[in-house]
């Protein structure tokens, strides 16, 4: 039986002194109210009301039961309210600080459509792991190697001048013996200052004979972009970032570098359900849903 529904009928009828009025006040039909009260009486094995012609009068047993029934109804209302509030409580999620404002706004909007309220914290890779570890966020999009990643974003080199060709080889940045002026540099964004991206690139730099100073980790994304916009330097970035900066993007010739992301949750959490609900939205925000573009398609 529906104990809460029965108690609600019992309390409402006793307050109004009438099955008809009490049922209406509890937004149920009189027959439902009668059936529920009867079920309650059967369960207790004792009558709750003296059924006279016009009025419903509590029996002594009914009067004894009334306060407890009221408490049960009230507790059920509190429980329902808690459930509504908990559903609205935002999910704190640490995201890469390279995502565009438009992309992040879109993610929040899409998530709300899936019944999840997001509260985003944009941070660099190490900081995201730290936020998760200290449980300041419920989940984080961590930077991981490609084989551990749920979402992958191709990385390449982007510059202000069109380099022609399909790919850009790092070795072409090497100074010739007779070259004058400053050597061209590769700028790394803080997002890519992680071992699985920075170290292979450093090894490549040494192997193809670039100078150490030709590979620079920028203090922030904007500073790196500014350097690239006003020189012949190149930025290690995704095709989407290059498009946003109106730079010419090419995949790196010698090696394949990929930004990988995986969703991790704080201690007791399980990321599967959020991944199932928001996977596509997160992919769109990270720019992971697009393949490597052909040079012709790069917007200039």
């Amino acid at each position: 039986m529906d104990l809460v529904g029965a108690c609600r009928a019992f309390v409402s009828v006793s307050e109004r002194g009438s099955f008809t009025v009490g049922a209406a006040a509890a937004r149920m039909s009189q027959s439902v109210a009668s059936r529920r009260v009867a079920a309650l009486e059967e369960r207790f094995g004792e009558r709750l009301f003296e059924r006279t012609a016009r009025r419903a009068v509590l029996t002594p047993f009914g009067r004894d039961m009334l306060p407890a029934a009221r408490q049960l109804v009230l507790a059920a209302d509190v429980l329902q309210h808690e459930a509504e509030t908990a559903k609205l409580k935002p999910w704190r999620l640490a995201v890469p600080d390279i995502c565009s404002t438009a992309g992040l706004a879109r993610l929040i909007a899409d998530a709300r459509g899936h019944g999840v309220t997001l509260d985003l914290r944009a941070a660099a890779p190490a900081e995201r792991a730290e936020l998760l570890h200290s449980q300041q966020v419920r989940a984080a999009l961590l930077a991981v190697p490609r084989d551990e990643a749920t979402w992958s974003v191709p990385l390449g080199l982007a510059g202000a001048q069109d380099p022609g060709g399909k790919r850009l080889y790092a070795e072409t940045l090497r100074m010739g013996r007779a070259a004058l002026g400053e050597p061209r540099r590769i700028w790394i964004q803080p997002e890519d200052d992680v071992p699985h991206i920075r170290d292979p690139l450093t090894r490549l730099r040494d192997a193809v004979g670039l100078r150490p100073a030709q590979l620079v980790v920028a203090a922030d994304h904007t500073a790196a972009a500014a350097e690239v916009l006003c020189s012949r330097d190149v930025l290690l970035c995704s095709p989407a970032q290059a498009r946003e900066l109106a730079l010419h993007w090419r995949p790196l010739g010698e090696i394949t570098l990929t930004r990988g992301f995986a969703l991790a949750t704080a201690v007791a959490g399980h990321p599967d359900h959020i991944r199932a609900r928001l996977g596509d939205d997160i992919a769109r925000c990270l720019g992971a849903d697009e393949g490597v573009e052909t040079p012709g398609a790069v917007v200039t």
Partner: protein, 300 residues
Amino acid sequence: MSTEALLREMRQRLRDGGLHGCFLVRDLHTGQELGIEPDTQLPAASLVKIPLALATLERIRRGELDGATMLTVEPGRITSPGPTGLSRFRHPVRIAIDDLLYLSTCVSDGTAADALFALTPPAQVAGIMREFGLQGISVRHTTRELTETPVERFEAAEAHLAYALAIEAGTSGRGHRVPQLDVTRANSGSARSYVELLQALWTPSAIPPEVAGRVRGLMADNLLRQRISPDFSSDASIWSSKTGTLLNLRHEVGVVEHSDGQTFAVAVLTESLVPAGTQPDADAVMAHVARTLRDHLRQL
């Protein structure tokens, strides 16, 4: 440009090129000098073949040795990149002491050098240097020990690990866990001590003129001219030098004699901070800095 500003710029060039460099340039007629860290001790690598040639030629002059004496030398049979001459030979050879001097000094043949060390052990070479009043150059071991470094133990694709070890395993006071790089155990010297040696060879000194003349002749015939020679040799000058290369060490010491009579001693001792074996750009940066210092000194 002021000397201070020039030195600052050159130090920056070295840093950008991933080099720790010790430079000294001296006008051998006026004694004027310009340098960067000229007194820092570094392992000498093949530079030790100059004191070896000097000591051997001095013993020939004294009549203790005869340059025409034929010796049987076992082949080195080394196949890893670097070593030259008898070190790569597959079969024993009969060769005169004079020709061993040529191979040791002009093509930096370690096996030829060790055949000479067998006649004049390191301690005796050091003793002759002291007799000539040349301090600061330690001669402690033969060159065979130079070729048994960690790099010989790695596959070619992993050789960068040996270079990383050479760069990282230094201990305080210029000690090192790789014995060949430990200045307290290896043949070593500073840019200044090698400039002193060059000065004694090119200007009147305790070294008998015929001995000095033969060492100068051998150094003029140096075959390894990829390092700083390109920036010093021309039809209007003679460049005489000896290189030294070991793990992350790249050295060259030499003298440029201009047709107008001006003579400069140049000593360049560097250790690279880049874990790669082949670094033509490091050679180019070394040469550029050495030339810039010489040009500045010449116009003072």
